[in-house]
Amino acid sequence: MKKILECSELAASYDGRKVISGLNFTINEGDYVCILGENGSGKSTLIKCLLGIKAPESGKIIMGDGLKQRDIGYLPQHTDLAKGFPATVTEVVLSGCLGRRGLRPFYSSKEKELAKQAMARLGISDLAGRSCRELSGGQQQRMLLARAMCAAKKLLLLDEPVTGLDPAAAADMYDLIDELNKKDGMTIIMVSHDVVKSLDSASRILCLCSSDHSFYGTPEEYANSHISSKFIGD
């Protein structure tokens, strides 16, 4: 197993309050990691650190195999972003290639091809010329996932990907993520509130329980630990 990302003794705060400390975990290529934790437990702060938007207070994030933080494909938490914004699906997906461009100002045909492939992979090729304000919630998430795939070399980071979707669209989204993990070999890190689904699909669970206590292990280990009882019920 090749290591793709490692956090060692990570500490970070949000608004001056320490939300993460002494966090350790290692993610291997092909893993499907679910991050669980209550609101305010530091999930968003951890994501910002992983993406390199925020510098950790102490500790290290080590990327494996020549990957850089900008090579992580990121699907942000659902917002009303695309509502009323005049942009075609192609324009949005293509903007995922920006990190690859470095300082060169315009996209090449190689990047346009990449965007086309990502749209085809997610089954939204027929929406390419549509405006993103005409899309349904599920279609919008697919578009944003395609954008993330343009940025991703091997690792996708998904922040609550099914929030705001109806049950059918949510199930579709989960199937798609499973497929990307199993068929395409993408490493997945997903923030989720859906414990049952997480235990079902994930290969690893990271639970941010409190600022100085966390759990990292397989779903079986998690289900057997006393921490899970709070989330699962009994």
């Binding site: 938007i53 900008r70 324009e91 920006l98 990190g99």
Partner: protein, 279 residues
């Protein structure tokens, strides 16, 4: 009426007054519509308005102190743009109330200083604009700065799109979003100051906001909005100027009215299209 027109197109009037005004005006209109797209979509529409009032204050103070107006107003407005964008990002004081606070303060200072010094005439130029009174050096400066704004915009187009659409994602792909916001603040400030001399402090924000609103009624893509907004703003400018010469109305106000007519027209087209299902 047509006698008036004939006088207007005498070589003397055309070459000395009308042509420079048209060149400077077209340059500034293109800039303001380009930047306007991002400002409107990021919900910063009022920043243009706020900056123009701050510019008015700075220009009044400069006029009273007998300093070159542009040299004072440009840096003041650039700094104000930084501060306003910063305030909109953090949230101690919400963006729109911060703008209201800054702009009315600057406006009050401007009016206070100029009324005390009895300079109301000069300063009302900045309030209502005086495109036909732009000096040759004003026009040259407008054109140079506009070219800089347009080139910067074209080269940063893809990044500007990404930062406008989703700042967090842009940051995650390694785009230095705060640097682009800074560059954007400077470009906006420069455009607002130039536009003020032409359209006046009261009307410049219409040049920034309305072309984008017009384009958004009918365009699906970001690129379409940018190109349509640019084209519509230039056409409205030329029609507005023509109307003002023909009917002897104030140029700035005429341009705004033409813009509003286009807005109504495009809104109707947009509505009809979505009714017939070809949205």
């Amino acid at each position: 009426m047509f006698d008036d027109l004939r006088i207007m197109f005498t070589p003397e009037f055309f070459g000395a007054i009308l042509l420079p005004a048209l060149i400077g005006g077209i340059a500034v209109t293109i800039c303001s519509s380009l930047l306007g797209t991002t400002l409107v979509l990021k919900r910063y529409s009022m920043i243009g308005d706020g900056l123009s009032h701050i510019g008015y204050g700075a220009l009044s103070v400069a006029a009273v102190m007998n300093m070159a107006p542009l040299k004072v107003a440009l840096p003041v407005v650039v700094i104000a743009a930084f501060i306003l964008l910063r305030l909109s990002e953090s949230s101690k004081l919400s963006g729109d109330s911060a703008i209201a606070l800054f702009s009315t303060t600057a406006l009050a200072v401007g009016i206070l200083v100029s009324s005390k010094a009895g300079l109301t005439n000069d300063v009302s130029h900045y309030m209502f604009g005086s495109i036909l009174a732009m000096s040759k050096s004003d026009v040259i400066l407008s054109v140079i700065l506009s070219v800089v704004v347009i080139l910067t915009y074209v080269f940063l187009y893809n990044r500007i799109f990404s930062v406008t659409f989703d700042e967090n994602f842009a940051k995650a792909t390694g785009v230095n979003a705060s640097a682009y916001n800074m560059i954007f603040a400077v470009l906006t400030a420069v455009t607002v100051v130039l536009g003020m001399m032409m359209m006046g402090a009261l009307l410049i924000s219409s040049l920034i906001v309305i072309p984008t609103l017009i384009a958004m009624r009918v365009c699906k893509s970001f690129r379409g909005v940018v190109l349509t907004a640019g084209t519509v703003s230039v056409v409205s400018f030329l029609l507005g100027m023509f109307m003002s010469l023909l009917m002897n109305t104030a140029p700035g106000a005429s341009i705004v009215i033409v813009n509003v007519v286009f807005f109504l027209l495009f809104s109707t087209i947009g509505t009809i299209r979505s009714r017939t299902g070809r949205s």
